[in-house]
């Protein structure tokens, strides 16, 4: 019988400082037991509990795509007890990963549609996973137009420079990378994500938007999409709440009757509109 | 229910609401089960009809005043008024926001003592008549002298009348409950260290850490209690003895020199734990070592343990 509380042991293979303020680091984990990698069957949008014995667990979205191989990527903001400890750890150290948890973005159902991805700040992690997955040769042809809008306060706070620079070069994706205010040396877009979204004006026809970002970004992007005629069913969001078990039992992460860990973290805007705003 | 008091409280409450002197009146309503009358906010004259005063009003209403920004009239007997004074002194309550309806406390009933008197049988109804409590259950009716089932802190109380009030309801009554207030603390002094530990562990062994004692206490208003802190984590979250005892010891000491012995902690405890065995000893020490200091008696007073004086007594510090 599988114990759902038991993490797979992993080794930290690589650590990368992800932002110039050093508040985020990207960790690459490799499974210590090779067979665990096969058991860890995930899709973009899912998350895992990063487990550090002696400190506890922290739920973090998976930033890698299953198309990238067996190792897992997580980009982690240093804020609580577990993430602070994680930031002090070194390559080669052993810890645990428990998951995959939650539902992924419904990419299967979205085949044939245009996809608009709107991301702000470090909420971009599972959208990196999504983009890598969508742009993989096995998958790209099954989707329509792909638009990627991503913003952060400063260039140094943008994650995954290498990835989005590559995406910018491709002709099968419209990539808009923006920063809040002008900075010397930045020749890209300047403006808040809602403003850029308004300029890009994504067409809702046969399209779905996936939005992840800080509450303020979502608050101001919503009216832009409303004006363009987007319906709640077409907008997919990913929620975060405090979690412990990650499997819909321990009772803290619910939004109405649904557990963010088990039934989410992915919800449509239409679903959320019918639920208490407890997130 | 104390009919005459109830009538006078309702009259005053209606008047205050009518004159818009306050936004609401905080008192008690009759409980839905016997022996437990419940804190209640009356916002309208109609709701005032639910207000009562009885010997089953065992919570400390001062607790509900903390951080409120509206104007509240509050029914306060001695201990509650002293808690309000303490909270004003500690900047948790604004004097101008509270209108204190001072009352005399008849002494409140310990429901665990009553349950004991009827051998744990289910009590379906409880009434008070003069100095007697009448409890009725299936096939029994017992008349119990109230004094025999009073909460211990009410028995040993020496300030039954409100000490600070804007108006006093009814006549002032006898200040003391007749008991010896050092009697709870006294046994500790005779016990050896091992015996103390035994008594202490015996007292708290049933604790389920629901924190009803802490949350019922008007002193426990910390934004984040030390047991809840995680960075650093001072106290474990388990039912291990060390974690449970750490909570109770530290909480008791945190209340030293501030506790007015209102008994809300014991009355709130679902397990019937008598945590006042700890706080009473501390209360006594403070009184004896700091020139008879009693918390909550005076606006502007500074609790002895929150200031340092070179000649502070230190006999209680065992090397």
């Amino acid at each position: 019988m599988k114990n759902p509380y038991k993490p797979y042991p992993v080794r930290i293979k690589r650590i990368e400082i992800a932002t110039e303020d050093k508040s985020l680091r990207t960790f690459e984990f490799e499974f210590i037991n090779k067979e665990d990698a096969n058991k860890f069957n995930y899709m973009p949008g899912q998350f895992a509990e990063l487990s550090i014995p002696g400190y506890g667990e922290s739920p973090i979205g998976i930033a890698s795509s299953p198309t990238e191989g067996e190792n897992l990527l997580f980009t982690v903001f240093r804020i609580g007890k577990v993430t602070t400890k994680l930031h002090s750890m070194r390559e080669g150290e052993v810890m645990g990963v428990r998951g995959p948890l939650g539902h992924p973005y419904p990419l299967g159902e979205l085949e044939g549609k245009n996809i608009v991805i709107i991301a702000g700040g470090y909420a971009v992690t599972t959208l990196r996973s999504t983009m890598v997955w969508l742009l993989h040769p096995d998958n790209r042809s099954r989707y329509g137009k792909i638009t990627f809008i991503y913003g952060a306060r400063t260039p140094g706070l943008l994650l995954y420079h290498d990835q989005w620079r590559q995406w910018q070069k491709r002709d099968d994706v419209d990539c808009y990378i923006t920063i809040d205010r002008e900075v010397e040396g930045w020749d890209g877009l300047v403006g808040f994500v809602p403003t850029i979204t308004e300029k890009v004006s994504p067409d809702p026809e046969n399209s779905v938007a996936i939005i992840c970002g800080p509450p303020v970004m979502i608050k101001f992007t919503q009216p832009v999409l409303d004006k363009l005629g987007w319906k709640g069913e077409q907008i997919i969001m990913s929620l975060e709440n405090r979690m412990k078990c990650g499997i819909g039992i321990c009772g803290r992460c619910n939004v109405g009757p649904y557990y963010v860990c088990k039934d989410g973290p992915v919800f449509t805007k239409a679903e959320l509109d019918r639920l208490p705003k407890e997130y | 229910m104390l009919v005459e008091y109830t009538k006078q409280i309702q009259e005053a409450a209606k008047r205050l609401l009518k004159e818009k002197k306050v936004d609401c009146v905080l008192g008690y309503r009759q409980g839905t089960i016997p022996l437990v009358d419940a804190p209640y906010f009356a916002y309208t004259e109609e709701e005032v009809d639910n207000l009562i005063w009885s010997s089953f009003c065992t919570k400390n209403l001062a607790n509900f005043l903390i951080k409120r920004t509206d104007r509240v009239a509050v029914i306060a007997q001695g201990c509650v008024s002293r808690s309000i004074v303490g909270l004003i002194n500690e900047n948790q309550v604004k004097r101008e926001n509270v209108y204190i309806l001072g009352v005399w406390s008849p002494g409140m009933v310990d429901r665990f003592k009553v349950m004991e008197r009827v051998g744990g049988r289910e009590i379906l109804e409880a009434k008070e008549e003069g100095d007697k409590i009448i409890v009725i259950g299936e096939g029994f009716e017992e008349v119990i002298p109230k004094k025999e089932v009073l909460r211990q802190n009410c028995l040993t109380c020496v300030h039954r009348n409100a000490v600070l009030y804007d108006e006093f309801i009814g006549e002032k009554g006898e200040e003391t409950g007749g008991g010896n207030r050092d009697m709870v603390a006294a046994p500790w002094e005779k016990l050896s260290i091992d015996e103390r530990w035994e008594k202490f562990t015996e007292t708290f062994k049933d604790c389920i850490r629901c924190y009803a004692c802490r949350n019922a206490c008007p002193l426990c208003y910390c934004a984040e209690c030390f047991v809840d802190e995680s960075k650093p984590q001072w106290c474990g979250k388990t039912q291990d003895e060390a974690d449970v005892y750490t909570f109770h010891i530290l909480r008791a000491f945190h209340c030293a020199g501030r506790c007015v012995d209102c008994g809300a902690c014991e009355s709130a405890c679902p397990m019937g734990i008598k945590m006042r065995v700890l706080t009473s000893k501390i209360e006594k020490d403070i009184r004896q070592m700091y020139d008879g200091y009693e918390p909550g008696m005076e606006l502007g007073a500074v609790p002895p343990l929150s200031v340092y004086r070179p000649n502070d007594p230190e006999e209680f510090i065992t090397p």
Binding site: Y5, P9, C245, I249, K262 | M115, A212, T238, Q239
Partner: protein
């Protein structure tokens, strides 16, 4: 399937049959309280009691339970590798559990063993290895309302055997195959005994006079119940202690914590409570249920609205009335239900 009968003076023999190979738990008197306790002397087992102070949920979901242990020495070969704690060694029997408390287990089974991916192995181990022999409730408390929440004083849900106390003897009814096995060899109950059981059942049910309905709660939209103005008053006097949640037989929220002492480390789970503000506090400081009103509402919404949506209509309450008895400020769940059911 059928009613069997056993003289009371033979009951100890039945119990001793269990205690030889199993751990037997039953309610016993301890001072004023009735507590669940490991039985060494069958004569201590109570028949004449209302219900245990605390529900027996802790026997399946302990207040503190070690999930894993690990070596906290970073130089050790097995450093930081979590090792599961061992499952129960002995089988167990719970005797004289009340039908309401047994029903709570069948509700919690749906929570702890929802599907393969979220199957709580610690709960399952204890459930699989425990037999539940219930004692029908012939004299419910004034705070009981089991019949109003799909339960009953003679309810069989969650039990292996239901026992009815007829004074000098007990009548036993098998509910599951396990129960049938236990009752094998016992004498059949007489028609007269069965008639008596029916009478006692009717009498017990008639004693529960709470008049509650859940129909509207179930049919109203989530947000409609959530935004009802009555919550604005209900929470006012709540202390946000956890007494109701800890006494509740169906409350099951927990926290997971790591602890270390020298080279020893363990991952433990502890009962938690939705009444605590910390329960939902994000590391960032944001709190989706940051006010007392949020938290009080959550508890009742969870039981009477959310759980039925998730658990095919099962309400997260068995009507045992413990929360009514222990709430320091007399927040009465029956009043809450009436308000939610508007």
């Amino acid at each position: 399937m059928g009613y069997k009968c056993l003289a009371k003076d033979k009951f100890s023999e039945l119990v001793e049959k269990f205690t030889k190979e199993q751990d037997v738990f039953a309610p016993i008197a301890q001072g004023l309280e009735v507590k669940w306790s490991l039985i060494d002397d069958p004569s201590k087992i109570l028949f004449d009691f209302k219900n245990t102070s605390m529900s027996p949920k802790g026997l399946f979901f302990p207040q503190t339970e070690c999930l894993f242990e690990f070596n906290n020495n970073k130089d050790a070969e097995d450093a930081f590798i979590l090792k599961e704690t061992s499952p129960l060694v002995k089988k167990r029997t719970l005797l004289n559990i009340r039908p309401c408390d047994a029903r709570a287990f069948s509700i919690l089974d749906k929570v702890f063993m929802k599907d393969e991916d979220s199957l709580d192995v610690y709960w399952k181990d204890k459930r699989d290895k425990t037999i539940l022999i219930g004692l029908a409730c012939t004299n419910p408390c004034s705070t009981c309302f089991c019949t109003q929440v799909n339960s009953s004083p003679f309810g069989e849900d969650g039990l292996d055997v239901l026992m009815i106390d007829l004074g000098d003897k007990v009548v036993l009814k098998d509910v599951t195959d396990k129960g049938e096995e236990i009752l094998k060899g016992l004498e059949d109950a007489s028609d007269e005994d069965i008639k008596k059981v029916e009478e006692l059942k009717k009498e017990a049910e008639s004693k529960i006079n709470a008049n509650l309905s859940m129909d509207n709660i179930l049919s109203r939209e989530v947000l409609e119940v959530y935004e009802d103005p009555f919550w604005d008053r209900l929470y006012e006097t709540c202390l946000n202690c956890g007494a109701c949640t800890f006494y509740c037989p169906t409350c099951h929220c927990f926290d997971i914590q790591d602890e270390t002492k020298g080279d020893y480390g363990r991952r433990v789970r502890n009962w938690d409570t939705c009444m605590s503000w910390l329960f939902t506090q994000h590391a960032s400081g944001h709190n989706p249920r940051g006010t007392k009103k949020h938290r009080v509402r959550q508890r009742f919404m969870h039981k009477f609205k959310y759980m039925p949506i998730k658990l095919d209509g099962d309400i997260g309450c068995v009507g045992c009335g413990r929360c009514i008895q222990v709430c320091p400020v007399n927040i009465d769940v029956r009043d809450v239900i009436k308000n939610m059911n508007k």
